[in-house]
């Protein structure tokens, strides 16, 4: 069964699950964007008379230990989790794309220098490195974002370097040089358009990781600080009530799971579609 499937059959492999996942992601993005209009309550409004209530018409998912609306906190939490993931992704991608393209296109000492730098960063497990950096910068969302960015870009740089080096040996790059195109024009018109599809795939898969990392940092108390609503931080705050009110941890946990699964499934389908290897670490 090695014969390639006709295009129509490949298309039919887009399962309903993929549409569901895409719907979840678009829905989450919508919720994050329009949080102030959707949330029934102020996520930080403390009302101790209403603490640890079950679901009711006023509080659809109930309240937490300080009487804050859980649904509103989840909705506002999507803002930070998704927003920061996008920010980390774009920033580390931009650095990685720049460094990787430079190293791959101009081999020699430029390549050596940049890649040894990447090796240095990659020599540490990334979580430990992020923890170390946050230890230096001090806890806080901004510091966590910067730390994650400083660690993530090396993986992009490595990947783009490899792709650029492979592309560089293609005959059409040699033809472009013979045809008088400058290095910048070759990168812009011949290299970047050909590494874009894999970029889309990796981006989708990495977004899931970024959300996980931010939540993990917040759960450890290093990222988002109280009282800001963020999924990881909500799990952190709810863990004291795990025996009596497990929903304090279950709802944000479910939200994280749903988003990461959706990103991964969409990414995997795109990887199959574009024939891209799914791992970069």
């Amino acid at each position: 069964m090695n014969t390639p499937l006709p295009a129509t059959m490949i298309r039919s492999r887009y399962t309903p699950l993929l549409y569901l996942c895409a719907f979840v992601l678009i829905g989450m993005a919508g919720v994050a964007l329009f949080a102030p209009w959707i949330a029934p309550h102020d996520p930080n409004l403390v009302d101790l008379t209403q603490k640890l209530h079950g679901p009711s018409s006023a509080y659809p998912l109930g309240t937490d230990q300080l009487g804050r609306c859980l649904l509103s906190r989840l909705i506002y939490g999507a803002r930070i989790s998704l927003g920061c993931a996008v920010l980390i992704f774009i920033a580390s991608l931009a650095i990685g794309l720049f460094v990787g393209t430079l190293a791959g296109y101009r081999d020699g000492w430029v390549d050596q220098l940049l890649m040894r730098l990447c090796d240095g960063v990659m020599a540490f497990p990334s979580l430990i490195l992020v923890l170390g950096l946050v230890g230096i910068f001090g806890p806080g969302l901004k510091q966590v974002i910067i730390a994650l960015m400083l660690v993530q870009w090396v993986y992009y740089a490595r990947m783009f370097r490899g792709m650029v080096m492979t592309l560089k040996t293609e005959a059409f790059i040699a033809a472009a040089r013979v045809n008088g195109s400058s290095s910048w024009k070759i990168i812009r018109t011949h290299i970047l358009p050909n590494i874009l599809p894999p970029l889309l795939v990796i981006g989708t898969l990495e977004m899931g990781w970024a959300i996980m990392d931010i939540s993990a940092m917040s759960f450890l108390g290093l990222g988002v600080q109280s009282p800001t609503a963020e999924w990881g931080a909500m799990i952190h705050e709810g863990k004291s009530y795990i025996r009596t009110n497990p929903e304090l941890m279950i709802y944000p946990g479910l939200a994280i799971m749903l988003v990461i699964i959706s990103f991964n499934l969409v990414g995997e389908q795109l990887a199959e579609r574009f024939g891209v290897s799914k791992t970069m670490k």
């Binding site: 293609e170 005959a171 059409f172 040699a174 033809a175 472009a176 040089r177 013979v178 045809n179 008088g180 195109s181 018109t189 011949h190 358009p193 050909n194």
Partner: protein, 265 residues
């Protein structure tokens, strides 16, 4: 003065963890304008390396390549559009994300800088000269066959009005019908534009059809140089004989391999 003068060119590839490999040893050749030099040799003989040196993609380790009286590698920017290339694998030689118009326009935009209507008119002329239609300009490489795509690569090569075109195994990947058609097209374009060709190939028949002088490379050394087709055909030295033996017999009965096998039929 010759258009092209290759003067004692040697080329060494430095390799990591392995001894350096000398791929060209003291090659000297001259080529007059308007002629076609067939550069023959088996794989690894250094033909394509010599082609890359002519194009300016690499600089020779020692020796000089004089093009039109100028040292080709004396400047940092050897790419002035006067030497162009057609590669073997037409699918690899064009960017899959660009349309035929974008592909052909690349040298035009870099060297001639036409604008608007004149540019479009020139593209139409070029694509029609290589036997395709103006409507093909908006198509992507995946929509063409290998032969059609090779025509687009040829259109790109002639777009900036070069003087010399390096045909690096330009017909070796094509089927017999397309091979003949493309060779005929190349011969026509050579007359039309007054071009000079360096035709790199291992296909002695294709070379005989297009070329009027011949050089044979073996393991990086020039082992034979014949200024005319008659001289090449009359040559009896071992290098030429080896090239001749490498071609398949025209008639099946002449296949010597069959004679040694028992006839099962």
């Amino acid at each position: 003065m010759s258009l092209l003068q290759i003067d004692q060119v040697s080329h060494v590839y430095k390799r990591r963890f392995q001894p350096a490999k000398t791929v060209l040893h003291d090659v000297s050749l001259t080529l007059e304008a308007g002629r076609c030099l067939g550069l023959l040799g088996s794989s690894g003989a250094g033909k394509s390396t010599l082609g890359r040196l002519l194009l300016g993609l690499e600089r020779p380790t020692t020796g000089t390549i004089w093009f039109n009286g100028v040292d080709r590698h004396a400047t940092q920017r050897p790419f002035q559009g006067d030497v162009q290339v057609v590669f073997q694998d037409s699918f690899a030689a064009v960017n899959p994300k660009l349309t035929a118009a974008d592909i052909i326009a690349e040298p035009l935009d870099n060297f001639i800088r036409l604008k608007g209507e004149a540019r479009q008119q020139r593209l139409v002329t070029l694509i029609e000269q290589v036997g395709l239609k103006a409507t093909d300009l908006t198509k992507y490489p995946a929509q063409f066959s290998g032969g059609q795509l090779q025509r687009i690569a040829i259109a790109r090569a002639i777009a900036a009005e070069p003087r010399l075109i390096v045909l690096d195994e330009a017909v070796s990947s094509l089927d017999m019908v397309n091979k003949r058609l493309i060779l005929a097209l190349l011969a026509d374009l050579k007359r039309l534009h007054g071009l000079t060709y360096v035709f790199i190939t291992h296909d002695i028949k294709a070379a005989e059809q297009l070329c009027d002088s011949f050089a044979i490379l073996e393991q990086g050394r020039l082992v034979g140089h014949y200024p005319s087709l008659a001289a090449f055909d009359a040559a009896t030295d071992p290098a030429v004989e080896r090239m001749r033996q490498a071609k398949l017999a025209v008639h099946p009965r002449q296949r010597t391999i069959r004679k040694t096998q028992p006839n099962k039929g």
